[in-house]
Symmetry: C2
Subunit: 382 residues, 2 copies
Amino acid sequence: MREVAVIGVGMTKFGELWDMSLRDLFVEAALGAMKGAGTDSIDSIYVGNMSGGQFVGQEHLGPLMADHLGLGGVPATRVESACASGGMALRSAYLEVASGMSDLVLASGVEKMNDGADVTGVLATASDQEEEVYYGVTFPGLYAMIARAHMEKYGTTEEDMSWVSVKAHRNGAKNPHAQFRRVMSLEDVLTSSVVAEPLRLLHCSPVTDGGAAMVLCPLDRAHEFTDKPVKILASGAATSSLTLADRADPADLDVVELSGNRAYEMAGVTAEDIDVAEVHDCFAIAEICCYEALGFVEKGFGKDAAREGITDLGGKIPVNVSGGLKSKGHPVGATGIAQAVTIIEQLRGEGGEVQVEGAKIGLAQNMGGSGASSVVHIFQGV
Amino acid sequence: MREVAVIGVGMTKFGELWDMSLRDLFVEAALGAMKGAGTDSIDSIYVGNMSGGQFVGQEHLGPLMADHLGLGGVPATRVESACASGGMALRSAYLEVASGMSDLVLASGVEKMNDGADVTGVLATASDQEEEVYYGVTFPGLYAMIARAHMEKYGTTEEDMSWVSVKAHRNGAKNPHAQFRRVMSLEDVLTSSVVAEPLRLLHCSPVTDGGAAMVLCPLDRAHEFTDKPVKILASGAATSSLTLADRADPADLDVVELSGNRAYEMAGVTAEDIDVAEVHDCFAIAEICCYEALGFVEKGFGKDAAREGITDLGGKIPVNVSGGLKSKGHPVGATGIAQAVTIIEQLRGEGGEVQVEGAKIGLAQNMGGSGASSVVHIFQGV
């Protein structure tokens, strides 16, 4: 396989962007990435998107986006793996460059969620229609069950989850792209309204519009485009049952562990080597599970990490310095790329107020459904 | 790039399959391909699907299908490019094997269209929501405009288009997987009801449920699995504007020509070298345009090809020996894989009643929308 580098990144503001359409979001992010890479030429485009069809009545995003970017003719396709669509689009772009088929490949993700659709209903189609949706459960309910299982097995509390949200907002308040740039106190979180017990409003990521993009090229060409290329050390992907009830233990996100272990093996590193990470905190409990599944802490100690500052800026392994899905926002198809954008910026030393000093190796983990798909990328500044 | 071979293929019956769900269709096709390849082991799965979300309320098909195939854990993702979703899934699988990331990769396509959804409305979301759908046009209308432009430019007639349908049904009547195994006369076609003038019912492909799959592996391992591997010589993809009105000339499918030329160049062959082809005849006029765009005949002579037997069995270049989308059926996400299955069978000499004698090199062309995306694969028996 050819070695692959990221040479430019871009993303929109995340939020309720009523004046921007799906195509506008893509174009702004893509142009940012191309400007960063200093290139007008792209050989192939991947668009991560969960549900343009249901959110805004638009499938077939490949040619639409290529055309609106002024790159009609260029091969372009959409990749979907629910909320892991962005991460899987990055993986597809990585494989195309690694294969030798193309040199300059745009990996992107975009979602327009605020446009009148029944968002909770659309998101539910990422769970099992026949075994879950039909019976009325939606994602807050599914993650509430994961939280209950984690509480039962490891003694995790509402307060433990709330510290994750406090950390998210503390970091997100410093992120100019974030949807909710507001510090939240422990009391704010613990007194926010209940969505699906034990999950409260401030344990849940919001509904967001946004786009993110990056340009990949062979590592041996990267210095033609940038002084600060970042190498993709590994891409690890995995699936588990779509239905939560079919998992061996809903308290552990086995799909995250499997995808992480595949990535660690490919990169030749361990959790100890990761200097900064973005993980998929669609709900606060998910971040706690990810700490454990990725080996940042031992199983059962995820609950302590945020409270004890282990995953804070300045802690042993800073996680979600962007504010995470919770504060930055979660435009589902864009999230996986946006996570990677944050890691690239960190490894270039461009993290601004949330820069992790001396960060050399970073990890981005993106998940679909209640833990049915997960993809982990590991990056290194070169 | 590593050289890649197809080592096993499978597909379901195509038709109104009221007793089979989306997941059933996938599993039957995938098991057929794995049985053909003689393997229970798969490293990665791609699922081509246009709109599980809108047709049956199910996104996130990667993990769902991996799990129902008994392969939970295996990386799996969905690829979407409207009616070219299957072809783009094959391309993604090809790139993953070519890259060296994985050895045994399942490329599949599946669509469940008969399940109560507003099929015409769902399909329309593959055209431009803001510039086409909003104004009320659907695909029969878009292809009717292409037909009118072709008639105006090249003198193509309703009868010319009808000969394409007659050929499709003559071939499809011999295909045990086909939805409509019925010979149609020229009069049948010319007297069928008008759908969107000048297109009549028998110029249009039907609404179909179905699945298709194939297993890919590195060429140098292919003989471990089969005595009759088929090499993938090339994969060429392209896009054009999603909006028909934005094309330089709606009478020519420029996207097909571009994707075809990329594939010919990669394979080091020309149209003259192709012994058998499956092209995207969603409407009879599309097949005529594809003849020209792929160089099977000169521009302006596509109208004569079916009538004069050039694309018949025994003709210079037999096209759509499977019956094509018209007679075999068009489960949109599955079509691109099903076309490739037909070509693989031909190159293995397993074409049954429609075998093209001595076929060595075959081509499959799969298109999305009104010609906004196209992907061409060229295969060779080895």
